[in-house]
Structure formats: structure tokens, C-alpha cells
């Protein structure tokens, strides 16, 4: 396992700038999640590290070795593709064996058997080993494709939305499983998703990408509690952060154009009156939809609240985030 360093990576596809001067360090043994909507450059970043695509400028290091000009095979990376990319003419077992049978590794047959068995066990596909890869459900294919990466011991694991096509139960199982595998083996993992729960639960570090630029890199807590911009703040948090005009509740710091209020930054029971428009009981939490001076706000409240729509609640901001007109954080 090794540290991965990206230095000033830029990549354009025609007029579209996919990556714009991205620099980051994926520490050895960390689980880094790249977060951002479609087109933010997440997948492109993975492809740069894997060697399937080359940057227009900038350098990539795995460990201390510069990767310029090296093929994916030479880089020793394992990648899980969003579209599975299984070998359709092979069985599940043959798919899992394929990377181990690389002449570069020269794995003895009994070790291949053992490794494939172990990984199939973890991913709950042992009973499907002799099925053809195309005779599987989407979720099973996705697990095989994860398995094909896990059988190896690469410098870095690259995963492109590996859990996106699984059902909710399996997804949460595999989240824990993947995190466990990574923590136990000390593997370095670069993981792309737009699911913030995956980011919050698995990541040691989160990189927030916006139109090819890395806008913030830090632990999930850092990004949640200390976002650098409206954009970064909006990536994490359920329910989403409320963005309202800076002076909605009164005075604002000079230069502030908007104010960000996470649910815990809206204090209830004191301050100014707002109207409850909807109460959503989700079991473990209850969401409160409020209407305050022509603005909708969403916050959470006591799960067993007696509030109902039409009620009046007093609210006041508590240590909110302030952003300037460009969306950058100023306080």
C-alpha cells in the first residue's frame, strides 16, 4: 500500500475542463472519498490515478514513484468500474481469478482458490461462483466487480460508485464490509460517490470536487463543521443546509451575502416566530419544515414532538456560517 499524490493535475476534453489544477494527497492507509455531482471530475480523477487516462499537465505519484507514462498494469492499481465491466464470457470464478492469473503476479493455484473463496464469502456470492457473469442480477455483478479488485493486493484501490446499483440493505452491509476490509488491511482506497452517507460513514478524508476543481479536502467532520463555501456545505448533511439571505434574522457581518444554517444551527424555543408547514416523522428523527419571512427552512426536532403543521415555533440562528456573494465562507 502506498500514498497517492496528485500535483496540479489538469485535463480537458475538447472545450470541457474536466480537472482544473487538482492537487491532493491520499495518505497511506486512508479511505478517501471524492464527492461531487455528475460532471465534477470524480471519475476522471480515478482514471488519472489508474493510468487509463493521462493528464494534460501535472504529476501523479504512487509512493515516491512518478507515474507519468506508466500503464495501469505497471501502476498496480485495482479498479472497480461503475458499469461493472465483468468479462461476460467467463464464470464468476473465472472473473475473480483473472487478475490473480496475471503473469506479473504468478500466484500459485491453491492460493488463487483460497483467495477467491474468501472474497466470495465476504461478498456473499459463494453460491454463484460457477454462474456465468451475465447470468447475475445487477447487485451481484457489482459485487463480483468489487471482488475482482479485492482478490488483489494493489498499491491502491480505486472504486467508482461501487455501491450505486445495490439495494439499500446490501448497500449498508457492504459499506460496513468495505470499511472493515480497508481498516483491517490498511489499504489505501480512493472512492468516488455522490452519496453523502457513504462519504460520512466510510471516509477518513473527503475531497469535494466542483467543476473539476478540488474545493475542499479534509475529514468528513471538518467539511461538515467548517465548510469553505456554500457548495462544500451543501455536499454533506441530511437534511441539507439551509441557505438564506444573510440578514434574514437581523444584522449580518459586512460582506456577507448569505447565511448557512444546518439543522443544529437553528435554535428552537427562543427568538422570532415561524410557521410550521410540515412535520415528517422519520422514526429516529423528526423533520420540521418551517416558513419564515418568505423562506422555507428545514430543521430537525425531538422525535416525539407534539408539533403539527400550522403551529408557531420561535427560532434563532446559532453560530451560523456566513458566505459572501461568490459563495465563499467569510465567517
Amino acid at each position: 500500500m502506498a500514498e497517492v499524490t496528485l500535483k496540479n493535475i489538469t485535463r480537458s476534453f475538447g472545450p470541457d475542463v474536466a480537472l482544473d489544477d487538482v492537487s491532493m494527497t491520499v495518505p497511506d492507509g486512508s479511505f478517501v472519498v471524492l464527492l461531487g455531482p455528475t460532471g465534477a471530475g470524480k471519475t476522471t480523477t480515478l482514471r488519472m490515478v489508474s493510468g487509463l487516462d493521462v493528464p494534460d499537465s501535472g504529476e501523479i505519484y504512487i509512493g515516491d514513484t512518478p507515474m507519468n507514462g506508466l500503464t495501469p498494469a505497471q501502476r498496480n492499481v485495482a479498479m472497480v468500474f461503475q458499469q461493472y465491466s465483468l468479462y461476460p464470457h467467463m464464470t464468476v470464478r473465472e472473473n475473480l481469478e483473472f487478475p490473480l492469473k496475471s503473469p506479473l503476479l504468478n500466484t500459485p493455484p491453491d492460493q488463487i482458490q483460497r483467495k477467491v473463496g474468501e472474497v466470495a464469502e465476504v461478498l456473499q456470492i459463494s453460491h454463484k461462483l460457477d454462474n456465468k457473469a451475465t447470468a447475475l442480477s445487477g447487485g451481484e455483478m457489482q459485487r463480483v466487480s468489487i471482488g475482482r479488485a479485492l482478490v488483489r493486493n494493489p498499491a491502491v484501490y480505486l472504486m467508482d460508485e461501487p455501491l450505486s446499483s445495490l439495494d439499500a440493505k446490501l448497500r449498508s452491509d457492504l459499506r460496513i464490509e468495505l470499511k472493515g476490509i480497508q481498516a483491517d488491511s490498511g489499504a489505501t482506497l480512493l472512492y468516488v460517490t455522490h452519496d453523502q452517507i457513504e462519504a460520512m460513514t466510510m471516509a477518513t478524508h473527503v475531497g469535494v470536487l466542483d467543476h473539476g476543481r478540488l474545493v475542499q479536502f479534509g475529514t468528513p467532520r471538518e467539511i461538515y463543521e467548517d465548510p469553505v463555501s456554500v457548495y462544500a456545505a451543501s455536499r454533506l448533511g441530511q437534511p441539507r443546509i439551509n441557505i438564506v439571505p444573510a440578514d434574514l434574522f437581523g444584522t449580518a457581518p459586512s460582506g456577507a451575502a448569505s447565511m448557512g444554517l444546518r439543522p443544529e444551527q437553528i435554535r428552537q424555543g427562543a427568538g422570532q416566530e415561524s410557521l410550521v408547514t410540515r412535520v415528517e416523522h422519520l422514526g429516529d428523527q423528526t423533520r420540521l419544515h418551517l416558513f419564515f419571512r418568505e423562506h422555507d427552512l428545514i430543521t430537525v426536532t425531538d422525535p416525539h414532538t407534539a408539533l403539527k403543521s400550522g403551529d408557531i415555533v420561535q427560532i434563532e440562528p446559532h453560530q451560523p456560517f456566513y458566505f459572501n456573494a461568490d459563495g465563499a465562507r467569510i465567517a
Binding site: 489508474s50 493510468g51 487509463l52 500503464t71 495501469p72 498494469a73 498496480n76 492499481v77 485495482a78 479498479m79 468500474f81 458499469q83 465491466s85 465483468l86 468479462y87 461476460p88 464470457h89 483473472f98 487478475p99 496475471s102 503473469p103 506479473l104 503476479l105 456465468k132 466487480s145 475482482r148 488483489r152 480505486l158
Partner: protein, 314 residues
């Protein structure tokens, strides 16, 4: 007018055909639709086949008005013990084996090269495919000129590269060369077809599979043998099937080119059959001959299709 979703759906759906054509069941209507094709199939395929089998047991001659006698398996016996027939069978086998082998090899190679992304590969595809679009009779005629010992381009090119005298050999006039002459022309004409099918196969392999293999540290060589070949194989086998059946029936091209000669060296079974049936007018004998060929092609094709399905299921 206020209507429920259900009513609107009922309105949009035409009433059952059965109700419009009064007194007919759905089953009867189904038969009406299928009947024309069944009739056509019976008239032009099944009936002639049965009639041919019937004639194959007789001494019927279509140009004579004499009493037809049933002579049992005599026709079959005569065909299968005739050395000349076996010679044409052998010529056909030679033709089939070499045309298919060479066309698959060159066709696949061309497809593999064309599939690489380079400038103008669409134009090259069109150019390569041109021979296939010509009429076989025209191609046959045209190549007789190319093979002409004195003025033929083919002889000239061979002479240019080997230094041999251009007029010292005649591709369609010599017993040793004529079987190869027809193989060359058929290959020239039909390799593009094999290429197109292989190209379809190659294009059906998603790029991402190669990317996965790349990350799985498979060399280009290993990718070729473990991904490209197995995934193109069903297409290749299909190409072989098409070319095999087509060439078993080969007639026009070879008749134009060599007329079956010199001697009987390029007399393929279809040419022989035509002579028996419409030159010698041995209708009964030719019928038996046709039945034998039919059983051979049908049998081989069935075995082959089974193998093809097995490959596809893998």
C-alpha cells in the same frame, strides 16, 4: 365529457379483431394470417423436396416421354460408387476448406486492423467491401482477363515479384493451378463479408472490458486471447457457417471463370449436378444426387449450429 381512466383506455384500444370479423375465432384469424406463408413454403420448398425424393428412386428423364420405373436405391448406389462424383466432392471440399480458412484469417485480421481508431477507417471499410457488391458472374468474367497469361494483370504481378515468365503459367488452364484460381477469386470477393461480421463482433466488445483487463494487469497479448478471441468467436463461427453454406452452393462464379475445367478439376458438386440434371437430363439420377447433397449440408450445418449455440452459451 368526464371519463375515468379505465373508460379512456377502453376507448383508445381497438375492439378485438374477432369481434369485428364476425363469426371467426381468434384461432381462425391467426390461421388466416399465417396461411399465405405456409402455402408459399409448401409450394416452393416442401413439395419440391418431397417430389425430388420421390424422383430419386426412379429412372425418370425430363426430356423423354417414357414410362417411369421405380428402381429403388440404384441411383444412390451409382452415385456413391462413381469415381468422378467423388472427384467433384473432393474438389468441393478443397474449395470449401481453403476459401473458409483463408477468408477467416484475412477477414479477421482486416477487421482487427480496421477496428483500430485511425483517420479514414470508414473510407477503407467502404473500399474493402466493394468486391462483395459486384455480381459473381461479372467477377468471374473479369478475373478471366486478370488470369490471362499474356495480358493478365495477375500473371504480370506474379511475374514482377517472382521473376518467372508471365506467360509461362495459366491459372485457369492448368490442372494444378485451377483449384487455386477459384479459391483466390472467391477469397477476393468474399473476405470483406467475413471482415464485416468480425468487425461487428469486435465492435460489440465494450471498451470498458479492456480497461478492466488493463487494470487487472493483463498484457495486450493476454487480452487478445482471453477477451477478444472468445468474445468474437460466435461471430467468427457464424461467418464460417454463412460462407460454408454459400460456397457449398457455389456455381455462377466458377462457371464463368473456369466452366469446371480444365478437365473436371474445378467441377464443384453444384456444377456437376446441373450437368446431370439439365445437360444429360438424367432427372432421377440428379434428384438422388441433390438429396445426397441436401442431407450432407443439412447434417453438417445442424452439427455446426449446435456447436455455435454451445459457444454462445458459454
Amino acid at each position: 365529457m368526464v371519463t375515468s381512466t379505465l373508460e379512456r383506455a377502453a376507448e383508445a384500444t381497438p375492439p378485438g379483431a374477432a369481434r369485428r370479423i364476425k363469426g371467426l375465432s381468434d384461432r381462425a384469424i391467426a390461421w388466416i394470417f399465417v396461411a399465405p406463408s405456409i402455402f408459399l413454403l409448401l409450394a416452393v420448398n416442401i413439395f419440391p423436396l418431397i417430389w425430388t425424393i420421390n424422383l430419386s428412386f426412379t429412372n425418370f428423364k425430363a426430356n423423354r416421354n417414357r414410362e417411369v420405373e421405380y428402381i429403388g436405391l440404384r441411383n444412390y448406389e451409382r452415385i456413391l460408387t462413381d469415381a468422378d462424383t467423388w472427384a467433384t466432392m473432393q474438389a468441393t471440399a478443397h474449395f470449401l476448406f481453403w476459401t473458409i480458412a483463408v477468408q477467416v484469417l484475412i477477414g479477421f485480421t482486416l477487421a482487427y486492423l480496421i477496428n483500430k481508431k485511425f483517420k479514414g477507417n470508414d473510407m477503407w471499410t467502404t473500399i474493402i467491401v466493394l468486391p462483395m457488391m459486384l455480381s459473381p458472374a461479372v467477377v468471374g468474367n473479369f478475373w478471366t482477363f486478370l488470369y490471362q497469361p499474356q495480358i493478365g494483370l495477375f500473371n504480370y504481378v506474379v511475374a514482377f515479384f517472382t521473376g518467372a515468365d508471365a506467360s509461362s503459367f495459366s491459372m485457369i488452364g492448368e490442372v494444378a493451378l485451377a483449384p487455386w484460381a477459384i479459391v483466390i477469386v472467391d477469397t477476393w470477393m468474399w473476405t470483406p463479408f467475413v471482415m464485416l461480421i468480425c468487425l461487428a463482433g469486435l465492435r460489440s466488445i465494450p471498451e470498458s472490458i479492456y480497461e478492466a483487463a488493463e487494470c487487472d494487469r493483463a498484457s495486450k497479448w493476454r487480452q487478445f486471447w482471453t477477451i477478444t478471441i472468445p468474445m468474437v468467436l460466435p461471430f467468427l463461427m457464424l461467418a464460417v457457417l454463412f460462407r460454408g453454406i454459400e460456397n457449398f452452393k457455389m456455381f455462377d462464379l466458377v462457371v464463368q471463370l473456369t466452366g469446371g475445367g480444365p478437365g473436371n478439376t474445378t467441377t464443384l458438386t453444384s456444377i456437376d449436378l446441373k450437368r446431370e440434371a439439365f445437360e444429360k437430363w438424367r432427372t432421377g439420377y440428379a434428384s438422388a444426387y441433390a438429396v445426397i447433397l441436401f442431407v450432407t449440408v443439412f447434417g453438417l450445418a445442424s452439427i455446426y449450429v449446435k456447436a455455435l449455440n454451445k459457444v454462445k452459451e458459454r
